[in-house]
Amino acid sequence: MLRYVIRRIIYLIPLFFGILIIVFVASRIAGNPVQLMTVQNPHITAEARQRLTEYYGLDKPLYHQFFIYLAELFQGDLGNSYALRGGIAVTTLIGDYAWLTFELQLAALFLSLLIAIPVGIISAKKQYSKLDVTVTTTSLLGTCIPVFYMGIIAIIIFAYFLGWFPAGGAHSILPERYPFGSYVLDELWHMALPTAVLTFATLAPVVLLVRSSMLEVLRQDYILAARASGLSERSVIYKHALRNALIPVVTYVGLYFGAMLAGAPVTETVFNWPGVGRLFVEATTKLDFPVIMGITVFITIMTLIANLITDIAYGYIDPRIRFE
């Protein structure tokens, strides 16, 4: 198992560098960032521009800049922001925002798996029943509604018409507004609506995947054999079928988590949630390249870690992978 894990880690390294190169080129493709930042400033002199360019090390050739960036990255330094909070270190900035993003995304991922797996199994067990049709139709619809639209509708209904939840943000402005005076409860109260929406959006494709995977497994000969040997239906489904049906689901969880993190700008903008996603939108609007690069690298690393965990889980569930 250890050898398998090490092999997977080695495998992810070129992937990381590939993405790093693309992101680096993408952020510099338009030329000098100083030029971009100062294009709307009529008072700036050529001399000041030159000074800024030298200050940020942008006068060196691109590959040289890339190596400097890499060297700093391995020392845990992502550079300093161009435009936010007076040139704050990007690592500090991300550290301030990352937890709120994780909190929301992990809660939604966990809840959606908790709901999707049993629902998918029941739906597959009773294929073509009324319940199954309802579940598949709702899930299909769920994959078609843009997350931000779902968010807007939820805000209209639950925040404005019913007034049950706050419309946005992570905390009440005044501490007097905290439910029972608790900071934690206040955050949970603010989290409820975005978590619910994100859960439903993530839930829909997982339900469809669990269902189709379960149906596929139930057609296999070894299930027929298990039934023929007189095992109870419960044992057949939960002991023999489920483990095999979950293999494709596990593969997707890693990909979904990556997609959820990359989609954070959208979800966090709707609910005004102060996480890295909204920070990214702000940084992009201001062309703050160190922050843009930093968040992209951060999300990429998180996605790769999620993929690694997926791979390990995959090896654990499916012995064929481990001993290949």
């Binding site: 590939g18 993405i19 299909l140 509604i145 404005y160 990909l255 843009i292 999300i299 990429t300």
Partner: protein, 310 residues
């Protein structure tokens, strides 16, 4: 003996009309597709949106070429017979904007899907057929594109392009191109898998033995046998592209000059409390169109994929 048999056959088919008609794979698929109500609903939805896009200037009661576009003079009027979906903050008719948004949505959907699928088919065919080093290199690149946080890069690219050329050079086309270039990877992997399966077939072996060139084998023998997968994936890709464009416009990184549903939602998000109708209707149309393409795609998969046959 031999001659007798052939005359018999000729006699049987003397009358052209009595000759049994060949039933192609596509005929069978069409028959199956016709029975699938969900897929027909999907096609109907797409047809409806195409109709809106084709006759937008006739359908929309308040045209965009008035100054300012869609202007009706009354701001934030709730839906009524006069303003079907109400009016927005600036006094623009929401219904007319929704109608004009149909063309943008279809443009991005079809355009991005065409780019993404061309790349996916190329990579899938080459990687699957040649194997070896080529396959290895192409699949590593594909993996990079699978893991890359695509929406983030898309936003940066679009922002940089507007910063370099503020006059928004063909904004919507650039959004379309970028979505296409970044969303081929998963489709390429699926197509590659299919090519690997078809490649092992006996008829490929046979044409190799007959001395067919590699190009001929790829395009005349393998391509038609993975075409059904490509059609299904393209349909689903259109739905994804529409969703991505809506998200980009919603975040304010789309083409500000284009009339898109995502952009309408962005403006509506500033005032959901005062005017719910501003956002509800454009969002409904995004959902409807995406649903249409997904239903059609699922229907096509059921009709075209022989392995799903009972």
């Amino acid at each position: 003996m031999k001659k007798e048999k052939s005359t018999k056959l000729e006699l049987q088919y003397q009358n052209e009309k009595s000759r049994p008609k060949g039933v192609s794979q596509w005929n069978i698929a069409w028959r199956r597709f016709k029975k699938n109500k969900a897929a027909l609903v999907g096609a109907l939805i797409i047809g409806f949106v195409m109709f809106l896009a084709a006759f937008d200037s006739l359908i929309a009661p308040y045209p965009p070429n008035a100054t300012p576009g869609f202007y009706v003079g009354e701001a934030r009027v709730p839906p009524s017979l006069k303003y079907l979906f109400g009016t927005d903050k600036l006094g623009h008719d929401v219904f007319s904007q929704v109608v004009y948004g149909a063309r943008s949505a279809l443009y991005v959907g079809f355009g991005a899907a065409a780019i993404a699928m061309s790349l996916a088919v190329l990579v899938g065919l080459v990687s699957g057929y040649y194997g070896g080093l080529v396959d290895n290199v192409l699949m590593r690149i594909t993996e990079i594109f699978l893991v890359i946080p695509f929406l983030l890069i898309l936003l940066v690219f679009l922002k940089v392009i507007t910063a370099v050329a503020p006059a928004s050079i063909g904004g919507l086309s650039i959004v379309t191109l970028m979505i296409g270039v970044f969303s081929w990877a998963s489709n390429a992997r699926i197509i590659r898998g299919e090519v690997l399966r078809v490649k092992e077939s006996e008829f490929i072996e046979a044409s190799k033995a007959l001395g067919a060139s590699k190009r001929r084998i790829i395009f005349r023998h393998i391509f038609p046998n993975v075409l059904h997968i490509i059609i299904v994936l393209t349909t689903l890709m259109i739905a994804t592209a529409i969703l991505v464009e809506a998200a980009v416009s919603f975040l304010g990184f789309g083409d500000p000059a284009a009339i898109t549903w995502g952009h309408q939602l962005q403006l509506a998000n500033e005032a959901v409390k005062e005017a719910w109708w501003e956002g509800v209707f454009p969002g409904l149309f995004i959902t409807l169109l995406v649903l249409g393409f997904n239903l059609l795609g699922n229907g096509l998969r059921d009709a075209l994929d022989p392995r799903l046959r009972e």
